[in-house]
C-alpha cells in the first residue's frame, strides 16, 4: 500500500463516506464482472450483498460527525492547556506586573462585591416567603423598632387599630402585624445564671401561615395563640438562633425557657432562609403578640389605642392590587383613629394632614433600607468609577506590555501562528489574570463585606454573600477581561510584521509602527483615569468636609466629658415618689465618686433616642398651623444644665427648690425663646401646656439631643420631680460630667448603680462621644470609603502615568540622547518630557472638574454645610491630583534628562 495522500483540508464527512462506500461497491462489481457477471447483474448483486445502503450511509455519517466534534473539542482543550501553561509561565516571569494587575482588580472586584452585597441584601432581595409580591406593608417601614404612646399617629398601628384594619378591609385575604419586643431577658435553663438577650419580635398568630414560612423542626405557632390570657405561651425560634445557641438540637422543641420571668415553650424552628420580615436584622425568636402584656406588665399595650407600635403586612386577595390597598387602607385607618380619639386629639391629628404608609411589602420592612439607600447609591457610583479606573489602568499596563512584546508576537506570527491563535493566547493570559484576580477579589469581598456591615450597622446587620453576588463578581471580572484583554489583543495582532521584526533598524523619529499607534490609546486611557479620579476625589473631599462639619457641630453640651447612664426603671416598676427617690439616690452616690464634676438626671437626656412632644399655647403668639405649637420637652433634675455643660443664656436653671411643685417653672432653649418671643426677653413669661400654666425662669443654648442634624429644636425643660398629674417621667437617664477622661469612671459608675439596686437593669453607661458615634457612624463610613476609593483612584492614576512615561521615555532614549548630543540643555529635555505628561493630566483634569461640578448634585442629600460643586473641594482635589501627577511624571522625566548620549545611541 502506498500512503501518498494526506487530507490537507478540513474533512467533509458526507463526501468521505460516499467515496468510501462507492469504492467498496465498485470493487465488488469489478470482482463479479471478472467472474463473468454482466455489468447490470453485478451492480444489483453488489447492492444486495451490501444491504440497506442509505441507512448504513447515514449512521456512518452520524458517527463521523460525532468523532469530528469530539476531536475538535480535544484540540481546543489541548490548546487551552498550552495557552494557560504558557500564560502562567509568562506571568511568573513578570511577577511585578502581574501583582499590580491582580491587586488592582481584586480591589475593584472586592469593593464592588462588598457594596453590591449590601445593595442586594437591602434594596433588591425579596422576602423568602410564599408569593412575596402579594404582600403590602402598612406603616412606616423604617419604624420597625418604634413604640410611641400618646397622641394618635399614622405611621404605626396600635393592636386595636390593627384589628380594625384586619376586620374592615376588603382587599387582603389576611393581615399580620409585627412589632418590637424590646429587650428580652431570657434564661434558657436554670444552669445558666446569666441572662441572654436574643432579638425578638412580637407577631400575630397568623404570621407564619400568611407569610407561608415552612418549618425546619417542630411546628410554627398559629392563630390558637390569639386566645389571650389562657393560651399557653409559646415561641418559634429562627434557624440561625437554633444553630447558634442550641447547636441544632432537636430536643429543644417542647422545652420551656424563661422570658422576662414568664415560662414560654419553644414549639418549633422556622425554615433556614427565613430571618424575619425585617430586612437586614435577623430575628431570633418570634413571640405571639397576645402575650406581650404578660411579658411587659409595666407597659401594657394590647388594649391601649394610644400605644402605636405595630407594622402590618397584608396579603392581597387574588385580583386585588396595591393601588386598591393604597386607596382603602388610609380610609379605614383614618376613620378608626378619628372615631376613637378625643375631639381635640382628632382635630390635631387631622390638622397636620397625616401621611399613611401603604407600600409593597415584597422586600420586607426595614429601618436600614431607607437610611442606607442614598449612601449606598453614592458608594455604588464610587466603586463603579473605581472599577472603570482600574480597568483603564490594567488595560494600559497590558497594552504597554503587549506592545513591548510586539517582536515576540511578530516572530510567532511569522512562524505560522494564526492571528486568531495569537488573540486567543493573549486573551487566555488576560483570562488567567482575571480568574486569579476574581479569586483574590472574592476573598477580599468576603472580608470586606463583613467588615463593611460591621462598621455600617454596629453589628446589627447580618448579611451573607449570596450566589447572585457571586455571579455578579464573575460578571464584573469577565467584563474586565473583555475590557482589558480584547483591546490590546486585537491591537497587538494587527502589528506590522515586517517593521516590527526590523525594529533594530528603527529611525530617530521613532517610525516603529507600534509607537505611533500606541500613543493615542494609552494617552486617552491616562486622561480618562485622571478624569474619573478627579470626580471621585471631589466627591470624597465634599463628603469628608461635610463629615467635619457634622463632627464640629456644637451640640450644646460638653461632649468630651459627659457620661449618660441609662437604667430601665420601668422594668422594676419604679414610678412616682419611688422613682424620685431612686433618681436622687443614684445622683448622690455617683456624685461621691472621685473624678466626677456634676451629676443630674432627666427623662430622655442626650442621644438616648427617645423624646417627648406636646403642643402649647403662648399668650400673644398666633400660630399659623398646628406645627407651630409643637415642641419637645424633657423632665430634668436640679442642676441639669451644669451637669451637661450647657450655656445658660438668661435667667437661672432649675434647682432643688423647683421640685415637688404642682404648677411650676420651666427653662426653655434658645430656639424656643426666639420662636415664641422674638426680640423680647422670655424670662418671666407664662405659657400653657397640658392644662398647666408654666413660667419661664431661664433660657439655655440649644441641645441637639436627638441627632446632630435636627429640624425643630424648640424645647422646654420641666422639673423631673413634680406633683402634677399629667406627664410623669417614665424613664431615667443620668447625666454625669467628669473632670477628666470619661471612660475612666464608667466601671465605677456601674458598680455604684448596682450598689443602689442590684436588680435594676442597666441599659448603658456610655460616654457621650460613643453615643454620638452611632449617629454619625454611617456618614463617617461613607466619607471614609469614598476617601479610600479616591486615594486608590489617585494612586492608580499616578501608577498609570508613571508607567506610560517610563515606557515612552525608554522608547525615546535614542532620540533624547541625540538631542543632548546635538547640544540640547538637560533642563530643556526635562521640561519637554514633563510638559508632554502634564498636557494629558490637564486635559483629564479639566474634563473631570466639569464632570464633578455637574455630578456632585447627586450627593446633595448627604451633605451637611457643603454645597454641590463646592469650589473648595474641587480646588483641593485638583491640587492633590496635580501634585501626585507631577511626582509620578518627575521620576521618569529626571531619568530622561540624565540620559548619556553615547550610551543611548549605542543601545539597540
Amino acid at each position: 500500500m502506498r500512503r501518498v495522500f494526506r487530507v490537507p483540508f478540513k474533512p467533509h464527512v458526507d463526501r468521505d463516506v460516499d467515496d468510501e462506500l462507492a469504492f467498496h461497491l465498485d470493487m465488488r462489481v469489478r470482482r463479479l464482472v471478472d467472474a463473468g457477471w454482466s455489468r447490470e447483474a453485478a451492480r444489483e448483486e453488489a447492492l444486495r450483498q451490501f444491504g440497506d445502503l442509505n441507512t448504513v450511509r447515514d449512521s456512518c455519517v452520524a458517527m463521523d460527525q460525532q468523532r469530528e466534534r469530539s476531536m475538535r473539542r480535544v484540540n481546543l482543550i489541548t490548546e487551552l492547556v498550552q495557552d494557560t501553561t504558557f500564560a502562567l509561565r509568562t506571568l511568573r516571569h513578570n511577577i511585578g506586573y502581574a501583582a499590580v494587575i491582580v491587586i488592582a482588580l481584586a480591589i475593584g472586584i472586592g469593593a464592588n462585591t462588598a457594596i453590591f452585597t449590601l445593595v442586594d441584601a437591602l434594596l433588591v432581595t425579596t422576602l423568602p416567603v410564599k408569593n412575596p409580591d402579594a404582600l403590602v406593608a402598612i406603616g412606616d417601614p423604617r419604624r420597625t423598632g418604634g413604640m410611641s404612646i400618646g397622641s394618635p399617629r399614622s405611621d404605626l398601628l396600635s393592636y386595636q387599630l390593627y384589628k380594625d384594619l384586619a376586620r374592615e378591609n376588603t382587599v387582603f385575604s389576611d393581615v399580620v402585624a409585627t412589632g418590637r419586643s424590646g429587650r428580652l431577658d431570657v434564661r434558657i435553663d436554670s444552669a445558666h445564671q446569666e441572662l441572654e438577650h436574643p432579638r425578638g419580635r412580637f407577631v400575630t398568630g397568623n404570621y407564619f401561615s400568611v407569610l407561608g414560612v415552612p418549618v425546619s423542626a417542630g411546628r410554627t405557632f398559629g392563630t390558637e395563640v390569639e386566645r389571650g390570657a389562657d393560651a399557653a405561651p409559646v415561641a418559634t425560634i429562627s434557624y440561625g438562633y437554633w444553630t447558634r445557641r442550641f447547636h441544632n438540637d432537636p430536643g429543644i422543641i417542647g422545652k420551656t425557657i424563661l422570658v422576662n420571668n414568664l415560662r414560654i415553650t419553644i414549639v418549633g424552628v422556622a425554615a433556614p432562609r427565613f430571618t424575619g420580615e425585617v430586612v437586614g436584622i435577623y430575628t431570633d425568636i418570634w413571640l405571639p403578640v397576645a402575650i406581650s402584656d404578660a411579658l411587659n406588665p409595666n407597659r401594657r399595650t394590647l388594649d391601649d389605642r394610644s400605644a402605636a407600635w405595630l407594622l402590618a403586612l397584608g396579603r392581597l386577595k387574588p385580583g386585588a392590587t396595591l393601588g386598591q390597598a393604597k386607596q382603602q387602607v388610609p380610609t379605614i385607618l383614618q376613620r378608626a383613629i378619628v372615631s376613637n380619639a378625643t375631639p381635640s386629639d382628632a382635630k390635631a391629628f387631622l390638622d397636620v394632614k397625616p401621611v399613611y404608609y401603604v407600600e409593597s411589602g415584597a422586600k420586607g420592612l426595614s429601618r436600614v433600607r431607607v437610611n442606607f439607600q442614598a449612601p449606598l447609591l453614592t458608594l455604588m457610583i464610587g466603586v463603579a468609577l473605581l472599577l472603570c479606573i482600574i480597568c483603564a489602568n490594567v488595560a494600559n499596563l497590558m497594552l504597554a506590555r503587549s506592545i513591548a512584546r510586539g517582536r515576540e508576537l511578530s516572530v510567532r506570527q511569522a512562524l505560522g501562528a494564526g492571528r486568531s491563535r495569537l488573540v486567543r493566547q493573549l486573551l487566555t493570559e488576560s483570562a488567567v489574570l482575571a480568574f486569579i484576580s476574581a479569586a483574590a477579589g472574592l476573598l477580599f469581598a468576603w472580608w470586606g463585606s463583613r467588615t463593611l456591615l460591621r462598621l455600617a450597622s454596629a453589628g446589627q446587620l447580618d448579611i451573607g454573600m449570596n450566589l447572585t453576588v457571586l455571579a455578579f463578581t464573575l460578571g464584573v471580572s469577565l467584563a474586565a477581561v473583555a475590557l482589558f484583554g480584547l483591546l490590546p489583543a486585537l491591537r497587538a495582532s494587527r502589528l506590522d510584521l515586517a517593521s516590527s521584526i526590523r525594529s533594530g533598524a528603527q529611525s530617530l523619529s521613532g517610525s516603529l509602527g507600534t509607537r505611533g499607534q500606541r500613543a493615542p490609546l494609552g494617552k486617552v486611557l491616562i486622561a480618562s483615569q485622571v478624569t474619573l479620579s478627579v470626580v471621585l476625589l471631589v466627591g470624597a473631599t465634599m463628603l469628608a468636609r461635610s463629615l467635619r462639619n457634622t463632627q464640629a457641630t456644637d451640640i450644646g453640651v460638653d461632649r468630651d466629658h459627659l457620661i449618660i447612664v441609662d437604667v430601665d426603671v420601668l422594668a422594676r416598676g419604679y414610678r412616682g415618689p419611688a422613682l424620685a427617690r431612686l433618681a436622687h439616690d443614684l445622683r448622690d452616690r455617683i456624685a461621691a465618686i472621685p473624678g466626677i464634676g456634676a451629676v443630674s438626671f432627666s427623662e430622655n437626656g442626650v442621644f438616648s433616642g427617645s423624646d417627648n412632644g406636646t403642643s402649647l399655647q403662648v399668650p400673644g403668639f398666633v400660630a399659623r398651623s398646628v406645627q407651630d405649637t409643637l415642641i419637645s420637652y424633657d423632665h430634668v433634675g436640679p442642676g441639669y444644665f451644669t451637669a451637661t455643660g450647657t450655656r445658660l443664656l438668661e435667667g437661672r436653671e432649675l434647682t432643688a427648690a423647683d421640685e415637688n411643685k404642682p404648677e411650676g417653672v420651666i427653662v426653655v432653649n434658645e430656639s424656643f425663646a426666639k420662636f415664641f418671643f422674638p426680640g423680647q426677653p422670655a424670662v418671666g413669661r407664662f405659657i400653657r401646656a397640658d392644662s398647666l400654666s408654666l413660667q419661664i425662669v431661664g433660657v439655655v443654648a440649644d441641645i441637639h439631643q436627638n441627632g446632630i442634624k435636627e429640624d425643630n429644636l424648640r424645647r422646654m425643660y420641666r422639673p423631673y420631680v413634680n406633683t402634677s398629674q399629667v406627664a410623669q417621667p417614665g424613664s431615667l437617664r443620668l447625666a454625669v460630667r467628669t473632670v477628666g477622661d470619661p471612660t475612666a469612671v464608667v466601671q465605677q459608675i456601674r458598680k455604684t448603680v448596682v450598689s443602689v439596686d442590684s436588680s435594676l437593669p442597666i441599659d448603658g453607661v456610655d460616654p457621650l462621644a460613643k453615643l454620638m458615634e452611632r449617629f454619625i457612624a454611617q456618614e463617617r463610613l461613607v466619607a471614609q470609603l469614598a476617601t479610600a476609593f479616591g486615594v486608590l483612584a489617585l494612586l492608580l492614576a499616578a501608577i498609570g502615568l508613571y508607567g506610560l512615561m517610563t515606557y515612552s521615555i525608554s522608547r525615546r532614549t535614542r532620540e533624547i540622547g541625540l538631542r543632548i548630543a546635538l547640544g540640547a540643555q538637560r533642563s530643556r529635555v526635562l521640561r519637554l518630557v514633563l510638559l508632554d505628561a502634564m498636557r494629558l493630566v490637564v486635559i483629564g483634569l479639566v474634563v473631570g472638574i466639569v464632570a464633578a461640578y455637574l455630578s456632585t448634585g447627586l450627593l446633595e442629600t448627604q451633605l451637611n454645610g457643603v454645597k454641590p460643586g463646592d469650589p473648595l473641594s474641587i480646588v483641593v482635589a485638583a491640587l492633590v491630583l496635580m501634585g501626585a501627577a507631577i511626582l509620578a511624571a518627575l521620576l521618569p522625566a529626571l531619568r530622561a534628562a540624565r540620559v548619556e548620549p553615547m550610551i543611548a545611541l549605542r543601545s539597540e
Binding site: M1, R2, F5, F23, H24, F50, D64, R67
Partner: protein
Amino acid sequence: MLNPDGGLLRGTLDVLILKALSWGPRHGYAVAEWVQVVTEGELLVEEGPLYTALHRLEKNGLLTSEWGYSDNNRRAKYYELSRAGRQQLRAEVSSWERYARAVGKALAAASPSVA
C-alpha cells in the same frame, strides 16, 4: 456466535474487524473479503453493517483511518488498529477462547451427573 438464521451476533463482527486489521492497514472492502475468505462463507456477513461497525470502532478510538491509494490506484480509506484497538483485540481473543472452551466442554459431556 451465530444467530439461528446464520447472522452474526453483535460484537462478533467487531472482533473479526479487529482481527482483519491485525496484520496492518486495510480498506473496508479488503476487510469484507478477508472475513468471507477466512470463514469460508460459513458466516453470513452483510457488508453494510461492516461499514457501520468500522466507523463506530473508529469513533470509539479503536481504529484510526487515513486516505490512501489502493492497488489499482483508486482513492480508498484505510483503517488501522490503534493502541487501544490492539489491546481490545487481545482481550477479546482470550475471552473468546475461554468461552468457546467452556461451551465445547459442556457440549461434549458424556454423563448427566454433577460430580
